[in-house]
């Protein structure tokens, strides 16, 4: 089943065209990796799919689980099953992680016609996910990402993903800022939460090391605002050996 189908997508940021006719199709059960040079438009792709204000779609279409993704508001995209792991998770002073995630999960449940989770049930779920990803319990009570180290912020993104349990996760450089042990824990977390027949992942990364833990079915190279090459897991190894320069040929 096709989960995400991006056709000929173009988008501008600040009046500048960044995505330029990008096409990509992801089926349920698949893990895709996108690699590409700095400034290629990888984060722009993630934000455009998430509906971030200021990221203006100028052409093309995106269908997610059979629906027009671009017609939805950002919170509706989340409720439809899309999760964005941020390259730079946002700090929110004065709002605790627990409060934030409970509002998020319950809003999604309500949007899907499910009952809200009680405080107790939510806490049990949050604690289990924090444990699975090695995030200290007391960080659940702290304001969202405030004073978290780079690695803690990334773990927190994965805890959020575990709690929300999305259909498709777009993870923007979730591996950057992680130490070697954290990388293994996070990689294991992604596999546990997302490697299922009805789920899919789009991993944006610069390095092979995350792909050692989360083995991609497909690897794509994004350059100049479009996918310029696609292949299997071996493409990542080739890129690591030879760099992006060789692609120009």
């Amino acid at each position: 089943m096709t989960m995400l189908n991006i056709e000929n997508l173009s988008a501008e940021v600040g009046g500048k065209t960044i995505l330029n006719g990008l096409s990509l199709s992801i089926n349920a059960g698949e893990i895709h990796a996108i690699m590409g040079p700095n400034g290629a438009g990888k984060s722009t792709l993630a934000y455009t799919l998430g509906g971030r204000p200021g990221y203006e779609v100028t052409g093309g279409s995106v269908r997610f689980l059979g629906e027009d993704l671009l017609a939805k508001e950002p919170h509706e995209r989340a409720a439809a099953g899309l999760f964005l792991g941020f390259q730079y998770p946002v700090e929110i002073p004065g709002v605790s992680n627990v409060q934030f995630l409970r509002s998020a999960l319950n809003a999604q449940r309500v949007a899907r016609g499910q009952a809200e989770l009680s405080g107790g049930d939510f806490l049990r779920l949050a604690r289990a996910q924090a444990d699975a990803l090695g995030l200290a319990q007391d960080m659940l009570k702290r304001p969202v990402n405030v004073g978290f180290s780079g690695g803690e912020k990334k773990r927190n993104e994965m805890v959020q993903m575990g709690i929300i349990d999305p259909r498709l996760a777009i993870l923007d450089e979730t591996d950057s800022g992680l130490d070697i042990d954290a990388l293994r824990v996070v990689g294991h977390g992604i596999n546990t939460i997302m490697r299922k027949p009805d789920r899919a992942v789009l991993l944006i990364t610069h390095y092979q090391r995350l792909l050692d833990y989360v083995k991609p079915d497909f690897v794509h190279v994004l350059a100049g605002g479009r996918i310029v090459r696609s292949g299997g897991a071996e493409l990542a190894l080739e890129l690591e050996r030879e760099g992006y320069g060789a692609l120009a040929a």
Binding site: R77, A78, A104
Partner: protein
């Protein structure tokens, strides 16, 4: 009240942010007289007093140490405070005395004027906490004089929930080591004018005045606080959070005065404003007048909008825009209510702020 009201005009600098144009009509209106009060009680388990349209209701009150009758409100020539009259309530606590639980006073206005004078006199080491609720539709006009003896401690939390207009004028003097904290939440649909003047007369006293002002539509809140350090070693805190939506206005003028002898003064002011619409207005004005040389005075004033990155982050997790706005706004005002000591009172105030935000 009869006759013509003599009110300051907006040309007067101290009154330029207040719109008093509705007061003559409210002053002359005939109050409805009855109002439901059930949900206005927080239920602190201590003394409680009910005033409707400025008149005491003994049958629904349990005044404890508070006496009802003449009170010296000490408003001087304050244009609104002087109109509050000389009848209301009085709390006098002898040395080391204090009610075990928070005193709760509910004021309801039913369409007309509600004038109340109040006086608090606390001797050495006396302690009390007080929560006041102003509700209904009308003009609440309260003038109060507070005199704290050595090391006396008083905490006041008050919330303005109704429509109409609330003018609350406080004048306080603190002896050595005394502590006074006045926190105000404006979370109703009417306007307010708050005047708070605290003087730290004795050494080592602590004074705090602050609060959260929430305004939408055409509402106006105008808070004016003066913390005067007259003796050495005093500490003062002024923490105000203003939120304005639509065409509403919040103005906070917070002033610190440090007399020549008030060395080692430690004064902080934090005035922050959050504009929920570009058409709203927030004016945050910190003022310092310092005549001593060895003092620590920190002040900050900022006015901004909700953090767009945070709004998108919340949306990306599924939180709808209205809820996301409310969550961030609540976090913004929570600081100003965090220091309310009585947990039930603090929770009630946070719930009021949340109800106002529509979360």
């Amino acid at each position: 009240m009869n006759g013509v009201l003599d009110l300051p005009s907006t040309h007067d600098e101290a009154w330029r942010w207040s719109d008093l144009s509705g007061l003559p009509a409210l002053a002359g209106a005939r109050p409805g007289g009855r109002a439901p009060t059930g949900e206005l009680w927080i239920g602190c388990g201590g003394p409680r007093l009910l005033f409707i349209d400025g008149a005491y209701r003994p049958e629904e009150s349990d005044p404890g140490p508070v006496t009802v009758g003449p009170a010296e409100a000490g408003a001087g020539d304050h244009p609104l405070g002087r109109l509050a009259g000389h009848q209301g309530w009085r709390l006098q606590l002898a040395r080391d005395r204090g009610p075990a639980a928070t005193i709760e006073i509910v004021h309801v206005a039913t369409g007309g004027p509600a004038h109340v004078a109040a006086e608090i006199v606390m001797d050495e080491d006396a302690q009390a906490s007080l929560v006041e609720t102003f509700a209904g539709e009308g003009w609440h006009n309260v003038a109060r004089k507070i005199t704290l003896g050595r090391a006396a401690r008083l905490g006041i939390a008050r919330r303005v929930l109704g429509g109409g207009f609330a003018s609350l004028t406080d004048t306080a003097s603190l002896a050595a080591g005394a502590s006074l904290d006045i926190a105000t939440l404006a979370a109703g649909s009417g306007d307010s004018r708050l005047d708070t003047r605290l003087t730290l007369e004795g050494g080592g006293a602590y004074g705090e005045a602050g609060g959260a002002l929430l305004a939408r539509g055409a509402q106006r809140h105008d808070a004016n606080a003066v913390l005067r350090h007259a003796a050495a070693g005093g500490t003062s805190r002024q923490l105000w959070r203003s939120v304005a939506d639509d065409r509403a206005t919040c103005a906070v003028a917070a002033r610190v005065e440090v007399a020549r002898d008030a060395q080692k003064t430690d004064a902080e002011q934090s005035l922050k404003g959050l504009l929920l619409a570009r058409t709203a207005t927030i004016n945050a004005k910190p003022e310092l007048e310092i005549f001593a040389d060895d003092v620590k005075c920190a002040h900050g004033a900022t006015v901004g909008e909700l953090d767009r990155n945070a709004l998108f982050y919340l949306a990306s997790r599924g939180v709808p825009p209205v809820e996301a706005k409310a969550l961030l706004t609540r976090a913004f005002v929570a600081d100003a209510l965090a220091r309310i000591g009585d947990e039930a009172v603090r929770a009630a105030f946070l719930a009021d702020a949340e109800a106002w935000l529509g979360a």
